[in-house]
Amino acid sequence: MQDMGEALAVAMTLVLSGDGDLVEIVGLSLRVSLTATVAACAIGLPIGALVATNRFPGRGAVLVVMNALMGLPPVVVGLIVYLHLSRAGPLGFLGLLYTPAAMIIAQTILIAPIVAALSRQVIEDMHAEYADHFRSLCLNTRQTVQALLWDARYALLTVALAGFGRAVAEVGAVMIVGGNIDHMTRVMTTAIALETSKGDLPLALGLGIVLMILALGVNALVHSLRLTAVRQAYA
């Protein structure tokens, strides 16, 4: 086993020199998780907004399910997607298993409930505040939802970033449906798991550093978004 400090030093050079393998892995990670975040927002935001602005029978049950789905274990999501995409599965003919597309699907399923549940809360609070004004203007549901989504934009960006943070850091789902194939479906988390088990600590550590920086960056972005919103009294 290599010396820890030595491994860290090599890791830093890998990161700073922009090592080809490392850049490729980080690039795929970002591509998969950002795409999944966009897809999850496209699904989760309308659901969150509709549940937030409408009263219907069974709404309480929907809320419970939405909140429960927030805690979906990634490996379970991976398993379910695997069962659908495997050759014997109902969507096997698409040939998506072990492709980045499969990873995007899995991460979308993983974080769409997070986006839906968190945005539901944000939008519902704002709707409670705006409801009388909107009803006085006789807005229809589409106008109401549009206005709420726009006025909650800062809080909803934070929600999206929370989803992205969860997607980019998860390992179970992408491992199962992506397979961690070199130059194909290897992302940061699966690479770290593999390289660590192989004993190649520098690459694992280098990726770990990038992942940490990414997490820090996301949090800094959330923080500055919040500051901007507060400064303009748009929070």
């Binding site: 505040e129 705006y130 009388d132 004004h133 006085s136 203007l137 006789c138 206005a147 303009q232 748009y234």
Partner: protein
């Protein structure tokens, strides 16, 4: 029974006002319960075609809730509200309500007005005149939520006027305003009344009621305790509760 309007023609100081076909308003047996408490208790009210009616009454008398019911934002438990043949929900779009606590969107002052104009397919060009009208022309680009309390009230008024409502509800539009802003808002209200807008205004400022009202409606105990032309009301309220309210006494 539609002729049975309680106040006489002397209430209508602005006689040349064209009659709005939303009026007369006829309310019978209105009951409203909120949180297990009876707020409005079999309330009857008739409002004539024009002028400014000022709604007086102690804190918690139900003035705000009554405005919401009349505007179609709140469904009463029982009773009949009739805007010249239409239910409140059918005429909401022809009315506007300035809330006691103005609800400002998380946008610029200009965008707050634009939002209302766009919701009615009205030309955005009207925004300048509206903001100038309430003295906010130079604040158009500022975030609306950073306005002072008085400025926020004026923005809410500009937004309400944007749709050229036939009926304008004002819920304490000058509470916590400086004297100059109060004057300004009162002038705007009087101008709206002269232009034929039917104004229904809630205030605790008796001086303001004297300045603006053609007619007074005094709310107490969940009903209209007294309704009279303004000069007659201020010459001497008939009910003890109204007398006490006007003179600053305790109303129980």
């Amino acid at each position: 029974m539609r002729e049975a309007i309680i106040h006489g023609p002397e209430a209508l100081t602005a006689g040349a006002v064209p009659a709005s076909n939303l009026l007369p308003l006829r309310v019978r047996g209105l009951c409203l319960t909120l949180g297990g408490r009876r707020i409005l208790n079999s309330l009857d009210l008739d409002l004539g075609p024009a002028g400014c009616t000022v709604l007086l009454g102690p804190n918690g008398a139900g003035k705000t809730q009554l405005l919401k019911v009349l505007h179609g934002l709140l469904e009463p438990d029982a009773g009949e509200v009739d805007w010249n043949g239409a239910a409140p929900g059918q005429v909401t779009s022809r009315q506007a309500l300035v809330f006691q606590k103005p609800v400002l969107l998380r946008r610029s002052v200009a965008a707050n007005v634009d939002f209302v104009l766009k919701s009615r397919n009205l030309p955005r060009a009207r925004r300048h005149a509206l903001l100038d009208h309430v003295g906010l022309g130079d604040k158009a680009r500022q975030p609306a939520r950073l306005l002072s309390g008085g400025e926020a009230q004026r923005l809410a008024l500009a937004r309400a006027l944007a749709t050229e409502p036939e009926v304008l509800f004002l819920d304490e539009p000058t509470a916590s305003l400086d004297p100059a802003s109060v004057n300004r808002i009162e002038e705007i209200v009087l101008k709206a009344v002269r232009n034929g807008t039917r104004v229904i205004l809630v205030t605790h400022d008796i001086g303001q009621a004297r300045r603006l009202a053609d007619e007074i409606v005094f709310l107490h105990g969940g009903r209209v305790a007294e309704q009279a032309a303004a000069d007659r009301f201020f010459a001497g309220p008939r009910t003890p509760a109204a007398r006490a309210h006007v003179s600053g006494g305790l109303v129980l």
